[in-house]
Amino acid sequence: MAGLRVDETRCIGCTRCVRACATGGIEVKDRLARPTDACVFCGACIDACPVDAISIERKEAGADLVAYRDIWVFVQADEHDDVLPVAFELLGRARALAAQRGCAVVALLPQGPGSAGSHERELIARGADRVLTVHDERMVPLDAEVCARWVCDLAQRLKPEIILYGATAFGRELAPMVAVRLETGLTADCTRLEIDGATGLLQQTRPAFGGNLMATIECPARRPQMATVRPGVFAGDACPRSSVSSDAAAKDQVVEYPLDASVRSRVRVLATEPAQQGASIAQAKRLVVVGRGIGSKKQLPLMQRLADALDAELGCTRPLVEAGWLEYPHQVGQTGVSVAPELLISIGVSGAIQHLAGIGGAKTIIAINEDAQAPIFGIAHYKAVGDAIEIVDNLVRELEDAVARS
């Protein structure tokens, strides 16, 4: 049976593995390490072992992996038939991966019957070698199950090596439905995607264990390898729109694949409530993010004043949403919104890994925190150590004075 193996001739009972384990999955008894029932096979103990006594034994299924090639990117259009920008971010990232694999990048674009055909051109100009599309009324509004049937059908016929999805609400429902039907692996909310130079495998890195550690995940024996990525994470990889030329799409680059006639939606949207006024922190150019270090909910108006003075949006960390200080749309991080502003001012934020994973796209980060050891300072470009409220108080006054003078 597959499992954690300890080489008894090597183990010296040093307990480094016990200290490295997040789950209590290994213990030392009689000077010998033994896995417990709580082991989740994360491999932390393997890295920690100084004498290489620990290994994970796996049974590898021998699938015919050579038949699989190309990287697919799922493209989602919104209710106004605009392509969501995460598709271009993924196309940009896919191009870099495809260069290493020596394969093509293919965009998957489900559309309604009336769609004009301008998306295909833009997708090709911004990184896709080919576009697989369908024009079908069953694709409007997008239904995860219907869409999954289409993607699975295509994947079984054309055998892609990798499929990437934006981790939108829809993508997070679609991707698992595809994974379970194709019986393959899926890694959610990746913050890094790389090709391993030796094995050619997709290395998918994401925050794990409640966002306290990063885990690199591979899917060695099944295909396609699949990952979802939050909007904004690869903002820097997207090809700019300006490079779109009007006659980019040759006819043979766009292929129509019909949806099986038997597919029917089992979910019907009766009405959509207008979204509440947009805390559009995902698109914000400037962002003020506050954490527990501001001390009290009473400080929020001051933080809002700072945001107003900078013409910035206000975001916060998960504990503040859980405490009810701000609503969920304001939450910045892996489990909230990934952001990529020009300027991010982080106030009283310690910097949990799941939070840091959501702000990696920010161009300039200014951190204000009284704890000089806070992890947020590890990624900040400018660091102000001191009483956050006092500094912000002065900062607001300076900024408001400057406005009054001009």
Binding site: E145, E173, P176, G210, M214, T216, E273, Q354, I366
Partner: protein, 264 residues
């Protein structure tokens, strides 16, 4: 009507601190609890049963979990809060499961309990954050699926109506039964156990079954049945130090104004 609520035992605190000197995890114990999203799902099931009971129909609410033997305590607590029965899938062979292998195990558990009309689970687990189990279950069971349910509006014999979150905002959605619903935390708060419930739970049996007993395919569960593998886990390395903004609060504020003017 038969409802199965899938629950996961998660650490009471997901805040793991790192020891900055040894670079290892500082574990401060902490008991396991039912994943808060799953607790909301259970409450929705219990409310639905009360509604239908008032209309003269009997609804069975089963709780299903895959976990270590100690998870039995949590399932007993679910019975104390009103669940009809509970099944715990516990076996060394289930360990190390990713979402696909977990889905296969839960599907086997579902067959053991009897196929439900409605499957409720939390939108995601606080310790994994993948939000994949619900939609994968729907695919494996060939059921309709609605994710991120905020309110359960109505449930008839052949369809369920819910308010659910999506990319365009919150929508009113109707799905045909059988159906999998993944539930947002704010959908409901799980009730406290009643005294009668606690007494009943003491004598209730929580079914504990191994992989072979529920007919799970050994190649599709646990580590062996998981296509994804964690090859490395690590504390992210800190990048090069940024520019220090020092001085008193006023001095720091003035420097920050200048920096903001320069960068954006």
């Amino acid at each position: 009507m038969h409802i199965v609520v899938c629950v996961k035992a998660v650490p009471a605190s997901t805040e793991v601190k790192m020891d900055p000197v040894t670079n290892t995890i500082v574990r401060d114990g902490g008991d396991a609890v039912v994943n808060p999203f799953d607790a909301s799902a259970l409450e929705l099931a219990l409310r639905l049963r009360e509604e239908r009971r008032a209309a003269g129909e009997d609804v069975r609410v089963s709780v299903l979990s895959m976990g270590i033997p100690a998870t039995e305590r949590l399932l007993r607590d679910c019975i104390a809060r009103g669940a009809t029965d509970a099944l715990l899938l516990s076996d060394r062979a289930f360990a190390g499961a990713d979402t696909l292998a977990t889905t296969h195990a839960l599907t086997c558990g579902m067959c053991e309990l009897g196929m439900p009309d409605l499957v409720l689970c939390g939108k995601m687990a606080v310790d994994g954050d993948t939000a994949q189990i619900g939609p994968e279950l729907a695919g494996a069971l060939d059921m309709a699926c609605v994710a991120d349910v905020r309110t359960l509006m109505a449930c008839a014999n052949d369809a369920v109506t819910v308010r659910a979150g999506g990319d365009a905002g919150v929508s009113l959605v109707e799905a045909t039964l059988p159906c999998v619903l993944t539930v947002a935390k704010e959908a409901a708060t799980l009730r406290m156990p009643s005294i009668a419930g606690v007494l009943a739970a003491e004598h209730a049996t929580v079914d504990v079954r191994g992989a072979a007993e529920v007919g799970a395919d050994a190649a599709r569960i646990g580590l062996a049945g998981s296509p994804t593998q964690v090859v490395r886990s690590f504390v992210p390395e800190q990048q090069a130090a940024g520019v220090e903004v020092s001085g008193d609060a006023i001095g720091q504020a003035r420097q920050l104004v200048r920096i903001i003017g320069e960068v954006a």
